[in-house]
Subunit: 259 residues, 2 copies
DNA sequence: CAGTGGTCTAGACCACTCA
DNA sequence: GAGTGGTCTAGACCACTGT
């Protein structure tokens, strides 16, 4: 009856993927819910198991589902993003709470924050960092590598580069605790109050090291932020490269229009 | 002789992927260069073709290579990113050049910019947009959909939402040309000079519509920017959601530290 | 036309999880 | 031990690109 039934020209793998995606979007498969097994899908659609598997890998690359060996394939639960804001650097926030914005954000989500300085070394900086610092790429600088966790899950890494003639033998150059307030309180001690920031943002897929280091599920990009701190004379005194899991982090800037 | 030769415990597909990735990183396979064919790799490594194919799909999901049907698999050439900056909204830049920052950036790269307003409608906004505008999600607003191209390649989409009581029957509410200067010149005409902006940034994999609309290669994320324009009383008067190809676009903010 | 990637089949064995 | 995903094989046919 009615229209002539158009043949479904879609490939079997696409058809399975489309059906599953629709189920997810309609909410029939809720976040955290379990998809049918590969063997199940294959027999239901009358295909080989590999074809059902291909369908799932499409959804995986879209970041919609996550497979767990021996358990099943699950709809990726939507964790609310941590919103790192431009107020991250606010002096008032720093002194009022005594907490870093990272700790505030994570705590707000009911998770337990942890930050850890994994290494402090002296070495020549990458070319883009040297450029932002306005120095020669051969000149060694202090390099501090920081890891940030929520409930012991790694969520971002920050690598900070500081010219040696600025850090001197201050706490910034040593592996010991930085002391009260954030790293920017130490820069202030040294006569470099933070007055302006520049943040260059890009998104890309993680490389294998980031994939394991940040325990990234497939189908999730990273956000890379190249941060530069400027003092009142607009002189750069510190550059940090942040790499963050894109499924857990976001950015939130509010700023005046200048000119 | 020497050490006992440790067995290579890596899976065949990983081994092939690792070898190819190393070749790319060493520059033996330069950007734009062609990888060996799948059948080639399979026979070289003594595996089935599917295994070589799996290796390539790993590199593809890392955004390192791009496959072209009937031609081969190629190392993804690195196009320089367009850096959209906070100066995007600068009044001075607007009046000095008469060009939008998008046009300036694309032209700087030796490509031909094109912007096109694809539709202007009136409808209820998405929940997050209504929230930023401080209005009820049921209230219809003006919706303007803009597409941006470089050399006729789509690079980003922007969907702008404007409360009806602000747009009125001004050019903002019609499909006609907006006139000299950018859209912000029109808001200024209406008594809404842009004084501050808020930009909320996230990264994710494209959904199927974005994939086709922006002609996205696999293994490339999108950057989503939820932009809010505020007037001198910090009243929001416009929200735009930008979705940009992550392999062609980046952001560049410079701002003062407030407080 | 030959060569390429895209999709699929029908099996197989392994590693992991959970009752 | 039953059920799950992870990997692999050895084929097949198709669609697309080049000459």
């Amino acid at each position: 009856m009615s229209d002539k039934p158009e043949a479904d020209t879609r490939l079997p793998s696409r058809r399975i993927a489309d059906d599953l995606r629709a189920s997810i979007e309609r909410g029939e498969l809720p976040p955290g819910g379990k998809l049918p097994s590969e063997r199940d899908l294959a027999s239901r659609y009358g295909t080989a198991r590999n074809t059902a598997r291909e369908a799932i890998s499409i959804l995986q690359s879209e970041g919609l589902v996550i497979a767990q060996h021996g358990r099943g394939v699950f709809v990726r639960p939507q964790t609310p993003l941590m919103r790192l804001g431009s107020n991250r650097y606010s002096r008032r926030l720093r002194s009022e709470t005594g907490l870093s914005p990272f700790r505030i954000e994570v705590t707000k989500q009911g998770r337990v924050p942890k930050a850890e300085c994994r290494s402090v070394t002296t070495e020549p900086p990458p070319a883009d960092v040297a450029d932002r610092l306005g120095i020669d790429p051969q000149t060694p600088v202090i390099r501090r590598e920081n890891w940030y966790f929520a409930d012991d899950e790694p969520v971002q890494v920050g690598v900070t580069y500081i010219p040696v003639d600025i850090a001197g033998d201050s706490p910034l150059a040593s592996e010991k605790k930085l002391g009260k307030g954030s790293i920017y309180a130490r820069f202030e001690d040294l006569g470099y109050p933070i007055a302006r920031i520049r943040e260059e943002i890009s998104a890309r897929m993680p490389n294998p090291e980031e994939m394991t280091g940040l325990a990234m599920p497939p189908g999730v990009p990273v956000i890379e932020v190249l941060h530069t701190s400027l003092d009142e004379q607009r002189k750069p005194f510190e550059v940090t490269r942040f790499v963050m899991r894109g499924d857990l982090n976001g950015l939130d800037y509010e700023m005046p229009i200048e000119d």
